[in-house]
Amino acid sequence: MKKFNLLLLVLVFFQNGFSQETDSNTVAHLKKIYNSLEYNTIAFNDLKEQWIINDPVFIREIYNRFVVRNAFRINDKKVTRDYIEQKTQDIYEGNILIEVRKRYYDDEIEFFAFLPEEEINQPNPKFTFDPFVDGFYLREVLNDKIYDKVRNRDYYYDNLTKTDYDVKTGYYFDLKLNLLDPEIMYWNTTSNSRNKYLLSIFGKWGDERIMQPGWYANEYIVGSKVTFFSNVSNNPQNYTYSVSLGTNFPASQPFIGTPPAKPLYVSGKALYVKISGDVMKYIDESLTDFDLSIESKYTFVDNTKALDYGKYLTKFDFYSNKTYFIIELKKRNLFNLFDFGDFELGGGIGSPDIHHLQYDPASAKISDLDGTKSLFSKFSHFAFVDFGVSRTGGLIQHNLNTLIGYNVQGGFGYFGVKIKVMLSDTFGFDIRYFNTYGVDKKKYEPWRYDSFLVFSPILRINY
């Protein structure tokens, strides 16, 4: 008899075990159906309106509705009275908050969960009860009035809605309108669907590394630029190399007050070349984020028309920078300063020549007043260091840099700041201010200024 009873129990046990497995499968299947009824917008979860209800009295009101309707579940099972009483204590102490999320395409609630305060912002929070994932059932539990109050947020809450701003580089066109260094990317192609060749028109007004910041340089360089990305990147700094070719045009100098008696003029047509790239990694693969640039301007034809110099009818003296070379090496992302950005450090040498010239409109001829000087002695050399922080992405992008330079021949130096701030990578401004130090007025060239302030608004349209 005992054996028979034991056999019966074993049979009942296995039957029950099998039945439980079948039932749990059915429950799981029902749950899948329930969760699949809505149009799935899981890809937008982080962009949907979401918030935390902090109002302790309102939380009690909601909690009580759930208790009255016996709507709390854990793992789809009703909860025990003991557990409710235990969690009610947490409600008294204000330790339980409510996380709410709205649907993407309308105003209904799609997620509603009680959770302990310490679980907020945790990657996989432990909810106090099973979350509600259906606003219509929630409405039934809470009633229309409270449900609408939750939706309309007429109480104390913390907004967690993500507003997503980031730098995204589009390769269709890119208009960077900045008076000091504009660039218009208007054509692109690829050779293997992963890389990009971008063709741009660029402008360049002055160069602070040779102490001729925009506005104070009366020439504007305009040209064409090819930029190559070996891999398409969302960060425009991650280009592989770029080559720029351009020429110069005379530019007016707004906002700089009284010009010097013997100004710096454009004295001819020049060729401008710049090559830059992340080339150090070809020496050693670990040497990444180095930006090496070499650029030069060379004047190859002298201006001879009176109109090129303004309304002078008699002989006049002026200075001109016909040629310069600049070489700079910059290390980006040297170390991270959290939300402030990444630290970068660069340095280099800039060598402009200065010619003291005289123009005679009568003979349409330019003569060199420093004719006895050798070509090499007309060059002066600047050594400079440029460091600061750069932040890309986020709502605000910025470059905050300090530039310190020293003129070896003149025995004077200059220092200043370059501030470029962009909002959502669309609107912004560029301000640069420099001052000189150690200037010997007797030796200081008459065309040079003591301090420089240049700025420009920035508008960037990128698709």
Partner: protein, 506 residues
């Protein structure tokens, strides 16, 4: 004894688990039925309708219901049975029948005294076989469920060309959001802009029939089109259309390059414009290479006297003479994948004699002339969203004009001295914004920066009358020079013009 006690506990546990599972089932049944009943927008479900006698196995003519009498299909022509089901859901392997809705067409059955068909709903809808019944059918009467399942899947297979209808009422396809808006890769933005702003007519497709699968497009045919304001007018008629495009004419008092208001320059412009579409299909304008060419002739005209009697112009009298000249204005859509290109050139001979506007200089006079103007720009278009309610365009390029000074002794009308005083290129930026609500233009503006001056042109739609008549209020303001001195030939303090613009057939 121990064994009996153990058996008692075990049986209790089994009974508890059965009750608990039943509660869980009921929970889900209730939630699902509630959602199916209440959610009117987000349900990603499909349905098929069977009207009239349904060919079903005899086993399913009557279906058991969990908490009610069995459900029977009615066999008549006015009753439709809607089978609602879930398909292609993540984690749900096969199609899942959810409920059956009975829809009785009352308009056919109840004629009424006046023939029926009055106001109000004409269909009685009842949901007699809910999810709870359907899922119970699947669990406990699988043969019957299977018969219904096969009925639906057979219908879907037989109608592969017409996938089952959806209950989804939100339209994610029209609410696509991107992080920065969109810029079309074809002529869409260009055509949208031109149709709203251009002085000349652009072909416009019109949806003539909404088929289930897409819409047929047909070009709008109007007999003539007119755009007229106080400063310029354009006109075209359908007889001027030709296979690859169309033509139109234009007259006006405007200047494109130099910062001058209408009438502030001194030319009268007449232009002949042709639009040429080069594409495989005439109707496929979005992919076509479009060349919009305007050939212009300008006549010297003394508008200085006219300006003082024009109440809608608030500006100083012109000081610049613009001679008789000819030129062209070309706009090309993305040749070789380049941006949209705009090239403008106007050139005339050095006609210094008998200037309309002179400036006294002691006993003598001086006159300023511009004989040549040019502008080349690239255009870029973008929208804030795919709804294209806020549309933007930016032109970036360079402009050129010359300024000559002629000196006249005493009352002489021939110059004693000529001098080229300005011969420069300047960067030019035009920024445009259009606001289009419900596909109807409402507001537009243009800001232009050229040669240290800004000009703002803005329009607002005042009236739209059926049949294609639109009246806009439009104004243009040109600023004084910024960050440079006023030149001898320039008017002080800029100026402004306000005008009404009438468009028909656009």
């Amino acid at each position: 004894m121990r064994l009996k006690y153990f058996a008692f506990c075990l049986i209790n546990l089994i009974l508890y688990s059965v009750v608990a599972d039943a509660q869980t089932y009921d929970d889900f049944y209730r939630k699902i039925d509630l959602k199916l009943k209440k959610d009117s927008s987000y349900l990603n479900l499909h349905y098929v309708d069977f009207t009239g006698p349904i060919a079903l196995p005899s086993s399913v003519t009557s279906l058991p219901r969990k908490d009610d009498e069995p459900f029977s299909f009615k066999v008549n022509e006015t009753t439709t049975y809607r089978f609602v089901f879930l398909m292609d859901a993540v984690g749900v392997d096969s199609l899942e029948l959810l409920y059956i809705e009975q829809r009785v067409d009352k308009s056919a059955a109840e004629g009424g005294f006046f023939g029926g068909g009055g106001g109000g709903p004409q269909t009685d809808i009842t949901r007699d076989f809910i999810f709870k019944d359907m899922y119970d059918l699947k669990l406990n009467h699988f043969d019957q469920y299977s018969a219904l399942f096969n009925k639906v899947t057979d219908y879907i297979k037989k109608n592969e060309d017409a996938p089952p209808e959806k209950l989804l009422r939100i339209n994610p396809d029209t609410e696509i959001k991107t992080s920065l808006g969109i810029s079309s890769r074809d002529n869409t933005d260009y055509l949208n802009f031109m149709r709203t702003n251009h002085l000349h007519w652009y072909p416009k497709p019109k949806i003539v029939a909404k088929a289930k699968r897409g819409a047929a497009l047909e070009e709008v045919k109007t007999s003539f089109r007119l755009d007229a304001s106080f400063s310029q007018i354009s006109f075209s008629h359908e007889f001027m259309d030709f296979a690859m495009g169309g033509a139109s004419v234009e007259y006006g008092f405007t200047e494109k390059v130099i910062n001058l208001l209408p009438y502030q320059g001194t030319p009268f412009t007449a232009a002949f414009r042709t639009l040429i579409n080069i594409s495989d299909k005439k109707s496929d304008l979005n992919k076509a290479l479009m060349i919009d060419v305007k050939l212009m002739g300008r006549l010297k005209l003394n508008t200085a006297k006219m300006m003082s009697s024009l109440p809608f112009v608030a500006a100083d009298k012109p000081k610049l003479n613009m001679g008789t000249s000819g030129g062209f204005d070309v706009q090309i859509t993305r040749p070789f994948s380049l941006p949209f290109l705009n090239i403008y050139l106007n050139a005339g001979g050095p006609a210094f004699s008998s200037p309309d506007v002179t400036v006294p200089k002691g006993a003598d006079k001086e006159a300023y002339f511009s004989f040549s103007q040019a502008e080349a720009t690239m255009s870029f278009y973008w929208n804030t969203s795919d709804k294209m309610t806020s549309r933007f365009r930016m032109d970036v390029g360079a402009g050129y004009y010359d300024i000559w000074k002629g000196t006249y002794s005493g009352n002489s009308k021939t110059t004693s001295q000529k001098e080229l005083i300005q011969d420069n290129f300047y960067p030019v930026i035009n920024f445009y914004f259009n606001f289009i609500s419900d596909n109807s233009e409402f507001y537009g503006c243009k800001v232009r920066f050229f040669d240290s001056q800004a000009s703002l042109t803005s329009w607002l739609k005042l009236v739209e009358i059926g049949g294609g008549h639109i009246i806009r209020f439009e104004g243009t303001y040109i600023s004084a020079p910024i960050a440079r001195k006023l030149r001898a030939w320039e008017a002080k303090d800029g100026g402004a013009i306000v005008q009404l613009r009438y468009r028909y057939g656009f």
